[in-house]
Symmetry: C2
Subunit: 229 residues, 2 copies
Amino acid sequence: MAAYPAFAVTVDVVALTIRDEVLHVLLVRRGGEPFAGRWALPGGFTRVEEDLEDAAHRELAEECRVTRDDLRLEQLRTYGAPGRDPRPERVVSVAWLALGAHLPEPTAGTDAAEARWWPVEEALAMPLAFDHHQILTDGLERARAKLEYTTLATSFCPREFTLRDLRHVYETVWGSTLDRSNFQRKVLGTEGFVEDTGRYAEGRRGRPARLYRAAAGEGTVLHPPLLRG
Amino acid sequence: MAAYPAFAVTVDVVALTIRDEVLHVLLVRRGGEPFAGRWALPGGFTRVEEDLEDAAHRELAEECRVTRDDLRLEQLRTYGAPGRDPRPERVVSVAWLALGAHLPEPTAGTDAAEARWWPVEEALAMPLAFDHHQILTDGLERARAKLEYTTLATSFCPREFTLRDLRHVYETVWGSTLDRSNFQRKVLGTEGFVEDTGRYAEGRRGRPARLYRAAAGEGTVLHPPLLRG
DNA sequence: AAAATAGTGTCTCTGAGACATTATTGA
DNA sequence: TCAATAATGTCTCAGAGACACTATTTT
């Protein structure tokens, strides 16, 4: 068959989690060129016989020991402008969005000198490697938008959570506040959003809150959606 | 620098248009192996110094003479499962969604034995090359979903159109009917959707309908959205 | 008891859905 | 005049937003 141009295919992951009521993104400091010393999204070359989603999981696992069940991964977009990577070969990157509840502290991996969770506001304010500022911006917008019309917010919560926890996810990701009782009415009135566990949260002040879990068959669509203030 | 696995990167385009009140997709019959003789989405290898979006435009132009202004192109998703292309090299495809108003009849291009517009129902019922059935399904779902919460529907309309034309876009893509007056109220009441041209449609029976054009700065978000029946 | 938090109820207003009425054209 | 189509108005109901009230716990 005819010759075809050879490309390098990488994956980059926008991993988001909530820590101390603040939205954080996982960044690694690059050990090698190009952009040595700069902070970047975790990622790397896809292997020849590896599925793209597997590559994203692998790169994430190399920085931060998380099992596949601890997070939700969805494809974000592919970035392939010529020159987006200064190296001579053409590099196309398939970006992924990963969401999880209080993901563990990262462990410096193979390629990275250092890795840590950054508050997204700080991450956006510093110079990132490649076009990762754009990828991060796109990932944040995707996450914010999907909270509106899907039950994605439960991905940021542990297996059992209170409605207060879930509301804090919205408030943290959107940066706005929501009326407590209207939120409650909306969530409980939506089929396929949460299920009552029958148990109650302990160790907090005030009346104990009911514990819920994400309804089975996640990924439900909200009709009508839950709109941002 | 370290060696990296070499991939082939292709683009595939789900081009949708409305002809005779039916949603159509552009397919080409493959001239060469693999899948010779099968119908497939238009697409091909990205050139080494070519932007991905430019490659999608080029492949589309090779089948169907359309200028960039005649259609709206947006990235759909990237398909990269090992084995999705039977050839020995690993092929990753960046899929695009192209929408336009009554796009012209295709001209058989370089790679294709034949090219034509197919009603989407028929296209879904026949065996397509590669994973193009999946890509087409994803493209249709994306188009249907985006009609709900954006002003994307105007992409299916010519430069000037009546509200009847616009409503037919929704009805054709969604396969449902919408109340005429409620639709009118919603569209006209949404800032940034359509602009009155001050002129009227001619050559139809009954009272002439006002002509509108898509509002400048397209891509507006509908808040709240226009929901499917 | 007081503070804190959870859970529930109520009022209002916007907007969607159903459908009726009026307006303007061609046959 | 009639048929066809466009444009506009009205009624009702669901749901969002604002906010009040009750319930249950810790300090």
